[in-house]
């Protein structure tokens, strides 16, 4: 049993996207869920990534998609890309 799981807004959003895309109850998805346990296969994976790109306005590279195995991988991958995007915006420009 995972102890108290640290979550945040970004992670919550990713979890919601995964749950919605898979048409499963949000409470069935946690940071510790593996794709295997959630029955997410490669085709579901690209569907999820498609929705995440839209939600966060990011672009996820093809080789990144193939390595996704768990919800935590996905959250961390999205976080990296969102940070990179934020850094690319010069201060004050937004």
């Amino acid at each position: 049993m995972p102890e108290h799981v640290e979550t945040d807004e970004l992670a919550d959003k990713v979890l919601r996207v995964i749950a919605h895309t898979q048409r499963i109850p949000p409470e069935s998805v946690s940071l510790d869920s593996t794709f295997e346990a959630l029955k997410i296969d490669s085709l579901d994976g690209i569907n999820i990534v498609f929705e995440l790109e839209k939600e966060f306005n990011i672009e996820i590279p093809d080789d990144g998609v193939q390595n996704l195995r768990s919800v935590r991988d996905t959250v961390e991958g999205v976080r990296k890309l969102v940070r990179a995007k934020d850094l690319a915006v010069p201060p004050g420009a937004a």
């Binding site: 296969d41 490669s42 690209i46 093809d62």
Partner: protein
């Protein structure tokens, strides 16, 4: 049962507008997967494709023809003309009704469909051109071929994604073998470079950002191609009686469904298609000299195909020559089986195996005897040509070299 001769071949693809042009490039190992003429806006994630670079419709058709036929059908007709011309067959008398046309296409007239949607949804014009249906229908090529040559027998089109034209060739082969028809124009065509379709492939994330490198450890996916391949299949005795030159023979066909997953390949389905094809040919696996692999260059396909070949061929898998010509003409989807069957028949006839181009280094998970980068001379009798489609539908042809005349 009748023997089935191949008396004509036709090819239009990135490699050329004729069999002769294409064969020169196949043996040269020349990759024709090049920057697409329209890179997309915003650009597609993949830069390259294997368009039928030299194909100019007005070299073959009138302006009026182009009103009625769109690209995938034009390609089919041009390849059919070449095959029929080479065979010297004339569809006259009884042969009119005892000949067939069987073609394959995955999506049919995609350009026309997309143009209709642009009018409807982008330009808010509710009137769509009246020829949208005949231009779009997947049997447009088959129907025009039947019209043009006066073929009145069975004519139909099969859509099984990337296996379409192997299914078409297999059906035509059985029609001739069983004596339902004397001759058949069979093969397939596809024209994939329409924006909506390219965006859909982009979203699938299976297209290589550069080129297709089947069986290489660093392969990154398939490269899309367009084109057509057509074969003139003919009752052996009929071909002999009219003094036709026999280019090769179709001796077996097998098909199967994975019943496993809509896109993820498995070993059993492809293995079953090969197994049934070899059985249908009445030969043993050790007779197979060459396999023109489905070899798309995706991570998943090339590994499962390797395992399937090993499962069916056993010890023979150690020595059988394997190549994927998709590395040169791209993955032509519904035309793939037909284009690759032509490549196989020419390989058998000339004793030359067209290579897998763009090969870098071997993948231990694809431990077959891959003919890489350079053509390989080999005395061969029998070849397999594999196609495995999304949807898990597999079809394998068994082709044989024609005896010396």
């Amino acid at each position: 049962m009748n023997r089935v001769a191949v008396t004509g071949l036709g090819l239009v693809c990135a490699l050329g507008n004729t069999v002769e042009q294409s064969w020169k490039r196949l043996v040269a190992g020349e990759c024709r997967i090049l920057p697409m003429r329209d890179p997309g806006s915003p650009p597609y994630k993949f830069r390259n494709g294997a368009e039928a670079w030299d194909f100019k419709p007005l070299d073959y058709f009138t302006e009026k023809d182009l009103v009625m036929l769109e690209r995938f059908a034009l390609l089919a007709v041009v390849a059919a003309r070449e095959a029929v011309a080479q065979s010297g067959i004339r569809f006259e008398g009884d042969l009119r009704e005892s000949s067939a046309v069987v073609t394959g296409s995955s999506v049919g007239g995609q350009f026309t469909e997309e143009e209709g949607y642009i009018r409807l949804y982008r330009e808010n014009i509710s009137r769509v051109p009246p020829l949208t249906i005949p231009r779009t229908m997947a049997n447009a090529g088959a129907s025009r071929i039947s019209l043009e040559f006066g073929i009145h027998g069975p004519a139909y089109t099969i859509a099984t994604a990337c296996s379409s034209s192997n299914h078409a060739l297999g059906q035509a082969f059985w029609l001739v073998r069983n004596g339902q028809v004397t001759a058949a124009v069979a093969g397939g065509s596809e024209a994939v470079f329409a924006e909506g379709l390219l965006r859909a492939w982009e979203a699938m994330r299976v297209v290589s950002p550069d080129v297709c490198r089947p069986f290489s450890v660093d392969r990154k996916g398939l490269s899309l191609g367009e084109g057509a391949g057509m074969l003139l299949l003919e009752n052996w005795d009929h071909a002999r009686a009219r003094g036709a030159s026999i280019l090769g023979e179709v001796i077996g066909f097998g098909m199967s469904s994975d019943a496993h997953h809509i896109t993820q390949p498995c070993v059993e389905g492809p293995a079953n298609a090969m197994k049934w094809a070899i059985r249908d040919a009445g030969i043993t696996p050790d007779r197979v000299d060459y396999i023109n692999a489905h070899g798309t260059g995706t991570q998943a396909n090339d590994v499962t195909e390797t395992q399937a070949i090993r499962a069916v061929l056993g010890k023979r898998a150690e020595s059988v020559l394997v190549s994927s010509t998709k590395s040169m003409h791209g993955h032509t989807l519904g035309a793939a089986g037909a284009i690759e069957a032509v490549a196989c028949l020419l390989a058998l006839k000339h004793g030359l195996v067209p290579p897998t181009a763009n090969f870098t280094s071997p993948d231990p998970a694809c431990d077959l005897n891959i003919v890489a980068n350079a053509v390989q001379p080999a005395q061969m009798e029998v070849a397999l040509s594999n196609t495995f489609a999304f949807g898990g539908l597999n079809a394998t042809l068994v082709l044989k070299r024609a005896p010396e005349a």
